[in-house]
Amino acid sequence: MAKLPIYGLMAEFDSPEALLEAARRAFAAGFRKIDAYSPFPVDGLAEAIGFHHTRVPLIVLIGGIIGCLGGFYLQYWVAVIDYPINIGGRPFNSWPSFIPVTFELTILIASLFAFFGVLALNRLPMPYHPVFNVERFQLASRNRFFLCIEAVDRNFEPERTRRFLDEIGSLGTYEVES
């Protein structure tokens, strides 16, 4: 996309309720390219800005299945296919003995998928981000709540948007330069 002069406009709030309310209204006003920032997870905030379903569970499920099947096959291959050898008179495929490792690998792979999955979906790591340009934003990790309408939004129009943000109770509205 064409390089825009600014990344967007950011409004500051002092309570999760205020932010939630503002987010709802911004969404209702037809803004779509918006994001809300809070020092702790606020229920319904994501939904308020139109984010409903996440693919994290699916990723974890896939990881689990890979771990489970792979884990068992590894042991089966070792004990039955690669070098079948009589261990204490037990059958080559003593599947009950293979359960613990299968289980552990299921957990392991699933967890790895969960962790790296969420990072990937969140596009992290991303040490640099335009929002950090806003001086007050460092309070986003303390006790302040921010709503950012990005310049790429169809309805974004600097002056009007700024006025809109002030209307919905922004304690201060800042330009986020990109």
Binding site: I85, N86, I87, G88, G89, R90, P91, S94
Partner: protein, 1017 residues
């Protein structure tokens, strides 16, 4: 693997050994290392300072294990292929008979206390590595004892003396010879009045001839005999009874009732291996014999034989002659002296015994103990005569020992001559009198009076230290010589290897005395027999003799004898030392001295294998102790404490007592032995050595300090004081109760006759343990073993043999104290009944080779797995050392290398290693493999002939050594094999089968044959 050696090859060896050098080089080439060559060259012996800290000793003891570079030093050290530039060193001229990589077997004999035992020695590329029994030899019958097994370690012992010394300085043979000649010149004048020769018991015909020759040259010279073990009461007894010093032989296979008057014939006899076999052959039930024999033992200390007796009477040593007299009277020997009354208990016992004897006239045997006074021997002869046993179970031949004399008197005379300065030239051939002789004589002190004395011995020992000259003796595996067995059978001893340390034989010394310095023993022996030989073709005869390991028909023929009336001798009391009045406080007891079961009179003190061998009954290692009965211990207020480390399988803290006899004192730990006679203590000789070598020096305490010539074996009134100190003894099995577990199943023959299955009708067998898993099919071979507890006498031969065959390391006392000894097969000893007179069981426990092996299941790296033959393989090089397998082994037969126990440094020990067995490194588990190396060799041999392995073709080391054939190995898939037959017998049972381990090693239950009259009522 019988004597697989053809005369041609043998001749080859003979020639080489005569010349020596080539043979030797082949060895050197094989080891191919600088260090090894050094060792061979004349270098000053490295006199190691006596190790102070225990850790050092352990460090050094790792030396006493053994391995050759070829046997894989890289062993478990590196998983990668061996270093890039390893050298491979071929012969220059390859000996005819030798196929690289294949062992050869040569027949010779090991002289133990003068008497010979036929052996076959396994030789790898010129290195003797293992000694086996010679099946054709009457004194061996294919079996060996622990000492024989360990003798090969003695051969390579780096502590053996390596150079001739004169007053401690290195000298040469020529220097010695000239010095000797100077003395002999002066002796010639006096016809050798000042010449004395001191030997141990001599049976060698060649040596005898040489001695006669010398006595001819020097008519006034004297030949003395003193044997650390001997005492020679047997011959005196015979003299008493028959007027001649006959040798007494027994044919135990013919005896239904055996009465042993303190005769430990299963362990301490030149014929022990044969006697053990004959004794047990009559007890194999169900076996050939219908009637089992019955053994009555009358003794003071608890001997191995006693532990195998059906009835034991433990009485003080002083009481034995009296009891013998009483017994003699009861069996119809003319006894004039009136019989003192005896206790009702003994009365009952004796009554039953006499009845039994009378019932078996001509089928019984009275055996007097080697250490009993002559009178007891004489009485025994009289009894055998009275019972008509002579010629049936008891035989007499001319003495095997040359010129049997009373060693005590002979030695006393020598010391007197030294005192009176009558003995100027003294030649000591073997033995170690400065240590073994009673301290009262101060032999060492008197030696200085003689102006020339020389000591020939394997080690620079206590005697060498006080002699002017010391000459390294050639080990029997390095020597040409000859020796007679208990029955007179002659073996011509041939060397397996040229003397490692340039040792000389007694023959060579005597030749020198006779003025022929450069005669090699090969010539001497060869010429002697050429002289003896009447037959035309001597060379053929000679070769056959060497090949067979004995001269056929050289056994002495029985003489028919008649005992003199007992009245002529029965009153003659054995001389007893006039000792300080028997005091009550401190309590004074009778004392019994006996050679140590493992190291005898100390001659094997530097032998790590024997030191670490648990003594048959006490299971002590590395120490001797003051043995006494529980009652006596209580009376003296002596106790013990089970150590917190090692505990029952390692450390026992015993009270130290001070012993005083005739003002001479020493201290030693007290050890309580169930079944020991009350009010007397037993002390084993051979310990407290001061110059034994790095292994044997300063172990235990020296009993010879207390001994006197009159009380060589028994003494009255020794004072025993509790000191309050405690001493840590290394004991491998202190817990001797079975805690109600049927590990050893025992009953009587009576019970068996009533119901042969009486021992296996137990809960554990009733419902066969089920399993979810389908069984594993073993088509082809399925190796198994059956051990007959009934036949095991607990002699330790199997333990030593296993150690020798499988390159077992020696870990040292400190590690045994921690419970870390490394024997792959152990002999568990259990007691039952009241402590004063318990029943004893010996149970050899190797790996059970379980089909459902618990150890395999838990190994994370698959280092122990099952083979197609159902063996429980242990792969050292895969082992990471979790030790989980050992925890999960119900039989606790696995052994772990907690430290680097095997020696990878000492060059002289490397040739000893069995090249077919990996030398285990630090951090790996190991265990009995059923001697898988032998199994594989047999299988390969069979495959190459496109046949199957024959039954009995494979003998594990333990089976091969066993004197009583208690261990049988074979293929349990073959219904005809002996092991299968045994396993189907009603007495066959498995250990802990309720755990569903399905052990391949099973046992035959123990059957006693008690006299009902004594047993019940």
């Amino acid at each position: 693997m019988s004597n697989g050696m053809d005369p041609a090859g043998l001749l080859g060896i003979a020639q080489q050994s005569a010349g020596g050098r080539e043979y030797w080089r082949s060895l050197e080439e094989l080891a191919g290392t600088e260090a090894f060559k050094d060792l061979i060259g004349n270098h000053l012996p490295r006199h190691a300072a006596a190790f102070t800290s225990a850790m050092d000793r352990r460090e050094f003891l790792t030396l006493m294990g053994a391995s050759l570079a070829l046997a894989g030093i890289s062993g478990c050290l590196s998983p990668a292929p061996a270093p890039p530039d390893e050298k491979i060193v071929p012969y220059v001229n390859q000996p005819e008979a030798l196929v690289p990589g294949k062992p050869l077997y040569f027949a010779t004999a090991i002289p133990v206390e003068g008497y010979g035992r036929g052996v076959l020695v396994e030789s790898h590329m010129g290195r003797p590595t293992k000694v086996e029994g010679n099946p054709q030899h009457p004194a061996s019958l294919g079996a060996t004892d622990a000492v024989t097994q360990a003798s090969v370690l003695e051969l390579y012992d780096p502590d053996r003396s390596r150079v001739i010394t004169n007053a401690g300085r290195v000298a040469t043979w020529d220097a010695f010879f000239s010095a000797l000649n100077v003395e002999l010149e002066s002796q010639r004048v006096t016809q050798g009045a000042g010449l004395r020769i001191l030997t141990e018991t001599v049976t060698s015909p060649t040596l005898a001839a040489q001695l006669q020759e010398i006595l001819r040259i020097f008519p006034k010279a004297k030949w003395h005999q003193f044997d650390g073990g001997g005492g020679d009461y047997a011959h005196q007894g015979a003299r008493m009874a028959f007027g001649q010093p006959f040798e007494t032989l027994y044919r135990l296979e013919e005896a239904d009732v055996i009465v042993s008057l303190d005769a430990d014939f299963l362990l301490r006899s030149p014929a022990s291996l044969r006697y053990a076999r004959e004794f047990i052959n009559r007890r194999r039930i169900p076996g050939g014999s219908d009637e089992a024999n019955r053994l009555y033992m009358i003794e003071s200390t608890f001997s191995l034989t006693g532990s195998n007796a059906d009835h034991r009477l433990a009485i003080a040593p002083s009481a034995i002659p009296q009891l013998a007299r009483t017994l003699a009277a009861r069996v119809g020997v003319q006894i004039s002296a009136e019989q003192p009354a005896i206790s009702p208990a003994q009365e009952k016992w004796l009554g039953a015994l006499v009845k039994d004897l009378q019932a078996h006239r001509g089928r019984s045997a009275i055996m007097p103990g080697e250490y009993q006074p002559a009178i007891v021997h004489a009485l025994a002869h009289a009894m055998n005569d009275a019972l008509g046993n002579i010629g049936k179970t008891v035989f007499y031949t001319d003495p095997v020992a040359v010129n049997p004399t009373n060693h005590a008197e002979s030695f006393r005379e020598l010391v007197r001559d030294l005192e009176e300065n009558a003995a100027q030239v003294l030649i000591i051939l073997g033995g170690n009198p400065a240590y073994t002789a009673p301290a009262e004589l101060d032999f060492a002190g008197h030696l200085v009076t003689s102006n020339f004395n020389v000591h020939l011995s394997l080690y620079e020992d206590e005697t060498s230290a006080v002699c002017h000259w010391h000459i390294p003796q050639a080990h029997y595996l390095e020597s040409w010589s000859d020796v007679r067995a208990y029955d007179g059978t002659v073996t011509i001893m041939q060397p397996l290897i040229a003397p490692l340390y340039g040792g000389r034989t007694a023959h060579e010394i005597l030749a020198a005395v006779a003025g022929q310095a450069e005669r090699a023993s090969y010539e001497i022996v060869h010429d002697y027999w050429r002289g003896q030989n009447k037959a035309k073709n001597f060379d053929a005869a000679w070769r056959t003799a060497l090949h067979d390991g004995f001269i056929a028909g050289s056994a002495l023929s029985p003489r028919n004898v008649k005992a003199k009336p007992a009245t002529s001798f029965e009153t003659s009391e054995p001389k007893r030392a006039s000792t300080g009045a028997a005091t009550k406080n401190p309590p004074s007891l009778e004392v019994i001295y006996r050679p140590d079961p493992s190291i005898i009179d100390g001659r094997f003190a530097n032998n790590g294998w024997l030191q670490e061998l648990p003594k048959p009954l006490t299971k002590l290692t590395w120490d001797n102790a003051v043995l006494m009965s529980p009652a006596t211990a209580t009376r003296l207020g002596l106790t013990y404490r089970v150590g917190g480390t090692g505990g029952e399988h390692g450390t026992i803290y015993a009270d130290v007592v001070e012993l005083e006899y005739d003002g001479r004192r020493t201290r030693g730990p007290a050890w309580i032995v169930a079944g020991h006679a009350d009010d007397c203590v037993t002390i084993h000789l051979g310990y407290g050595r001061r110059r034994a070598g790095r292994v044997g020096t300063n172990l235990g305490f020296n009993a010879n300090i207390l001994r006197t010539l009159d009380t060589l074996w028994h003494g009255a009134s020794i004072a025993v004081r509790k000191t309050g100190a405690q001493y840590a003894l290394a004991c491998t099995q202190f817990h001797h109760l079975m805690e109600g577990r049927d590990l050893v199943r025992a009953g009587t023959i009576e019970q068996y006759r009533k119901n042969p299955k009486f021992l296996i009708e137990r809960e554990s067998e009733k419902e066969a343990p089920g399993t979810l898993y389908p069984g594993y099919k073993y088509d082809g071979y399925a190796w198994g073993m059956s051990i007959d507890v009934n036949a095991c006498i607990g002699c330790n031969a199997c333990v030593a043999a296993c150690h020798a065959e499988n390159n077992g390391p020696v870990v040292g006392k400190q590690e045994v104290l921690r419970g870390r000894e490394m024997h792959w097969i152990r002999i568990d000893r259990y007691h039952r009944g009241e402590p004063s007179n318990p029943e004893t069981y010996h149970q050899p426990v190797p790996c059970m080779q379980c089909e459902n092996a618990p150890c395999e299941l838990v190994c994370p790296v698959g280092a122990t797995t099952h083979s197609q033959d159902g063996l429980n393989d242990m792969v050292y090089n895969r082992c990471v050392g979790t030790r989980y397998c050992s925890n999960n082994c119900p039989y606790k037969v696995r052994r772990f290398n907690f430290f680097l126990y095997s020696d990878f440094k000492t060059e002289s020990l490397k040739p000893l290693r069995n090249p077919d067995v990996t030398v285990r490194s630090r951090g790996v588990m190991e265990k009995c493999t059923y001697c898988v190396q032998r199994i594989n060799q047999a299988k390969i041999a069979a495959e190459k002939e496109d046949r199957v392995v024959r039954d009995g073709e494979i003998e594990p080391a333990c089976q091969q050594a066993c004197p009583t054939r208690a261990i049988i190995f074979g293929n349990i898939n073959d219904p005809q094999s002996r092991v299968t037959q045994l396993k189907t017998q009603p007495l066959s049972y498995g250990l802990l089968t309720e755990l569903n381990t399905r052990p391949r090693t099973t046992y035959q239950a123990k059957l006693r044959n008690p006299n009902p009259e004594i047993e019940n009522g």
